[in-house]
Homo-oligomer: 206 residues x 2
């Protein structure tokens, strides 16, 4: 049996979609959670100076998206064919472009930088949010499954659904503005393989 | 036969690694190159408001990395097994993290933003460059093939090699500081399937 060890901070953010993938697949993994105070000492020992990384027996794989895609192939969660796999891959990268675009707001509200959070919310977050979720709503309404790809749930749904939780924590207007996106998130969280974990996990704002 | 159409600007940047993949595989594709002056009119007609995107018969796939991974699977350029595929994937994302980190310098020298290019070169570009290529040099020196993965060349080598051309155009100290990285780039460019194309393509600074 393969021994998987995931190392990340004790927050959801870029680690949680990987945890959700393990939970959904019913595959055991060691869930190592680093305290932020210990990070400066641990950083030089990591493969790229960043978290998360995944140990797969004696092999090491950094980068959230690459970890998700690798595990999703092992667990048969990449879609029904290579085009669906590519479409999931592409949709995740488009979503991460959105996350990069709103980062100037995020780093201020998360306390990683100083700045005017209200102004950044208005000028940076809102316009990018509206473009990204208009597009995602269109994509989902055309999907035969209601998930990103026609054949059913894939790893990209776990990533987006869990990030929507972060947006709901930061943006009081999100639910009213995008009810169909919140319905999609709830549909992912209600998957029988995830439901118990979602309701019992510790609260993490990000 | 599948009809591939790649739409991108008339520069290397994020389009060229895909072109190199087609050239290496000997697969025909329509190479649509948009003029920057036409972009505002074309932008709303694209799937995500960004270039490049790839048409695969009647299907559309945006995002450089996703396009590369999809085509690399079709053309057998993802490595010898799923871990090598994941390692290539991860190495590309780590490299793109480096590109994101040096973007504040790049946007100024490329004329997309105003700023002090010399200061950004010193404060942003150089420290990120030194970390990224120290790491890549270590990785390559351990590889059995001299490419990113042990079994031989993959799409990630095309991406990194072509971006090194951009760095050589912008950074007069690159070659002296990282001769082994430039040797790696030359090894990719000298592949018999690429050599003629590389020497005859039009010059593009980026």
């Amino acid at each position: 049996m393969v021994q998987y060890t995931l190392t990340y901070f004790d927050v959801r953010a870029l680690g949680e979609p990987i945890r959700l993938l393990f939970k959904y697949a019913g595959v055991e993994f060691k869930d190592v959670r680093i305290k932020h105070i210990d990070w400066p000492n641990i950083k030089p020992t990591t493969p790229t100076g960043k978290l998360p990384y995944l140990e797969i027996d004696d092999k090491v794989l950094p980068e959230t998206s690459a970890i998700l895609r690798y595990l999703a192939r092992q667990f048969n969660l990449i879609g029904a064919n290579e085009f669906e796999a590519a479409f999931a891959d592409s949709t995740l990268d488009t979503y991460r472009d959105f996350m990069a675009a709103i980062r100037p707001h995020y780093v201020v509200v998360a306390g990683f930088a100083e700045g005017n959070a209200d102004q950044l919310f208005k000028d940076v977050y809102i316009p990018n949010r509206d473009t990204a979720f208009k597009r995602l709503g269109d994509l989902l309404s055309k999907s035969k499954s209601g998930f990103v790809v026609d054949s059913g749930v894939t790893y990209v749904d776990f990533f987006i659904a869990d990030h929507i939780t972060t947006l709901l924590n930061l943006d009081p207007s999100f639910e009213k503005t995008f009810p169909e996106i919140v319905a999609y998130q709830k549909k992912v969280y209600a998957l029988p393989q995830l439901k118990d974990y979602i309701t019992t996990r510790n609260f993490s704002k990000f």
